[in-house]
């Protein structure tokens, strides 16, 4: 908590000169080239671009699931660009929340235990994490579904469980990868309203999407092309 700056304009994320290259056979593929970006606390960014533009690679790097080939990545005041696997896991555990296109809930666990999963890895006692998971289930409107399995829920409900899970560790940044991609437009709007609400409460959100109308829920947009930032800024 002490790492988190209070001022709303203080950067939570600072990327400088991030390059990511992959070795594919004998050819080297450059997924990201000299990307620099500053994300302030409380921002809601929509990352857009055609497929192959590097937006997934960027999200993986931001999510500390991958390390840059070169460049610097500072998250919540720490340089995470050269951290060990364990240290990166710890950063994910404390500072990041993930929302996926296909929800990625564990089918064998109840809604409540899915929500509590990050708390388990934080070492919370089961009583305390159950209480917190209850609270979060209420917050996303699933109080009547807490003991159901994910397979018994609709797509919109599943994504709400995922949102609750992403909020469990009170993350500095929420990373959403096409959160409405598997939903119809009505439930998609519902989910987007929920994210907007979180933004209004001061959460920092970075969302990858290719739908322009979904992107309008964000207050800032980033366009990627060929591994470079084509444009970045507030929506007019």
């Amino acid at each position: 908590m002490q790492n988190r700056p209070n001022s709303s304009s203080a950067p939570v994320i600072r990327l400088s000169g991030i390059t990511k290259t992959y070795q594919m056979g004998s050819t080297e593929v450059r997924a990201l080239a000299e990307v620099s970006l500053t994300v302030a606390r409380g921002d809601f960014w929509a990352v857009m671009g055609p497929s192959g533009s590097g937006k997934s690679t960027l999200l993986n790097l931001l999510g500390c699931l991958d390390r840059p080939t070169s460049g610097n990545y500072e998250l919540a005041g720490q340089d995470v660009s050269n951290m060990s696997d364990d240290a990166l896991s710890d950063v994910r555990l404390r500072y990041l929340g993930f929302i996926f296109q296909s929800f990625n809930l564990l089918p064998q666990l109840s809604v409540l235990r899915n929500i509590a999963l990050p708390l388990y890895y934080q070492g919370w006692s089961s009583d305390r994490s159950r209480e917190r998971a209850h609270e979060l289930a209420n917050r996303v409107g699933l109080e009547s579904r807490m003991h159901h399995r994910p397979t018994e829920l609709s797509g919109g409900q599943r994504q709400r469980v995922a949102i609750a899970r992403a909020l469990a560790n009170d993350p500095a940044v929420i990373l959403a990868d096409e959160p409405t991609g598997n939903l119809d437009s009505r439930t998609g709007t519902e989910i987007m309203n929920m994210l907007s609400e979180l933004h209004a409460q001061g959460k920092t959100i970075i969302m990858v999407t290719h739908e322009a109308d979904i992107a309008t829920h964000a207050n800032k947009q980033l366009h990627m092309r060929d591994g470079r930032i084509a444009s970045a800024g507030e929506i007019a």
């Binding site: 993986n60 699931l65 364990d86 896991s89 996926f100 990625n104 999963l117 070492g123 560790n169």
Partner: protein, 423 residues
């Protein structure tokens, strides 16, 4: 914190094992049979050696028991002949020679054994009448319930006294007034001077020298009253047997001399007896026999158990590898949420151990049933030891860890990005 994490992983492991009940059960089978046969194997070996120890303690480990036996070749002849006189068995001379020849012999006890009917007043019972010496009671140790055992004077003075076993006392006499009572055997009367305790000698493969219904009298008295000839008349045929002594018990001074002395006596008998009308029982040899049985069992079942456990372990590893592939997504999600590699390893390892230990527990149940079945079907004694149960459970846990490490490490080393993309 570690403990609670372990418990939660344990719960998770149990849930996953129960999620696929049939699959888990089939996976466990190798361990089940392996553990079952380990316990059964040890119980059979233990049973055999317990039985041997028991017999040896009953017979006396320093003793050699030589009995008279009707020679094999003459058995058929006596059955076909209508009138037959047979002279065989141990002689007073044999007894004397054993006593004089060997330095390693500490004591010898000759015994004349006759089947008679004993009576007190109207009550009567079949007994085994044993004419012997005072040393019998040194070599075949039994508690004295009342009175005394035979004394050397009884033998030298030819006293008409008898020592009876508890069973005989119960059948013929009021227990509290046994001593001093008169006991009739045929036309002869003996004074009861002592009662000794029974220790069941019947029903085992080699029997102890004493029986439940025994009456012991001094050897010269038996010889004088009943002679060396036994006449049997049954269904029209008539047989006469001349047997001087039915049994000689030899006590050897130390354990290491027992078997060499037994061999030496046997050699001596081979030259002095024309036919093999005697039988040697060396309790100590039983121990070797039991050890040999134990070893054979251990080798046979040990290899079955070993193969079964390895196959079982491989089966578990196989299923866990399949499970890791099946749950690649789950692993990706857990890693994205902040699980460290070693936490993934821990989770899968605990799950494997849960699987193998459940197999072990079922195996223990099987291992407790197999010896019961063996005893029931083959009358072979078995004895399940608690340490063998502990050992098997330890082995099944060890198998879980050994064969669980590779799948668990493989799960932990999955690339989270790839894992999340896995369909």
């Amino acid at each position: 914190m570690f403990q609670s994490r372990f418990l939660r992983n344990l719960r998770l492991g149990l849930e996953n094992v129960l999620l696929h009940k049939l699959r888990s059960l089939l996976t466990m089978l190798g361990i089940v049979f392996g553990v079952g046969s380990v316990i059964a194997m040890l119980s059979v070996g233990e049973g055999a050696s317990r039985q041997a120890m028991d017999q040896i303690s009953r017979l006396g480990s320093h003793n050699i028991i030589i009995s008279s036996e009707k020679p094999l070749a003459d058995k058929s002849a006596s059955a076909s002949g209508r009138k037959r006189s047979l002279l065989y068995g141990l002689t007073y001379a044999d007894h004397h020679r054993i006593r004089e020849t060997f330095d390693t012999v500490k004591t010898t006890v000759p015994a004349k054994i006759l089947r008679k009917e004993a009576s007190v007043g109207p009550r009567r019972t079949d007994v085994r009448l044993v004419g012997t010496t005072a040393a019998w009671f040194e070599l075949v140790e039994r508690d004295v319930v009342a009175g005394r055992t035979l004394m050397p004077e009884d033998v030298t003075e030819c006293n008409a006294v008898a020592v009876v076993t508890e069973a005989v006392a119960h059948k013929l006499l009021a227990v509290e007034h046994v001593l001093g009572q008169s006991l009739r055997v045929g036309s002869d009367v003996f004074e009861v001077v002592g009662v000794v305790r029974n220790r069941g000698g019947e029903g085992t493969s080699i029997q102890s020298p004493d029986r439940t219904s025994d009456i012991y009298i001094p050897l010269p008295v038996a010889r004088e009253r009943y002679g060396d000839t036994e006449v049997r008349i049954a269904s029209g045929s008539y047989s006469r047997e001349d047997v001087q002594l039915h049994q000689i018990i030899v006590r050897i001074d130390s354990l290491k001399h027992v078997e060499p002395t037994a061999e030496a006596i046997e050699r001596m008998f081979q030259s002095s007896h024309k036919t093999k009308d005697y039988q040697f029982h060396v309790p100590l040899a039983l121990l070797r026999q039991a050890q040999a049985t134990k070893r054979t069992f251990n080798i046979v079942l040990g290899s079955i158990a070993c193969i079964s456990l390895i196959v079982g372990g491989i089966g578990i590893m196989n299923i866990m590898l399949a499970s890791v592939t099946e749950r690649t997504r789950e692993i990706g999600v857990r890693r994205a949420l902040g699980a460290k590699k070693r936490q993934i390893v821990h989770q899968f390892l605990v799950e494997t151990v849960v699987l193998s230990t459940s197999g072990g527990i079922i195996g223990v149940a099987l291992g407790l049933l197999i010896p019961v079945a063996i005893t029931y079907l083959t009358q072979m004694p078995t004895q399940v030891t608690s340490w063998s149960v502990g050992l098997s459970l330890f082995i099944s846990i060890a198998i879980g860890i050994t064969f669980g490490i590779y799948p668990a490490v493989r799960a932990a080393n999955l690339d989270p990005i790839e894992a999340l993309r896995h369909e």
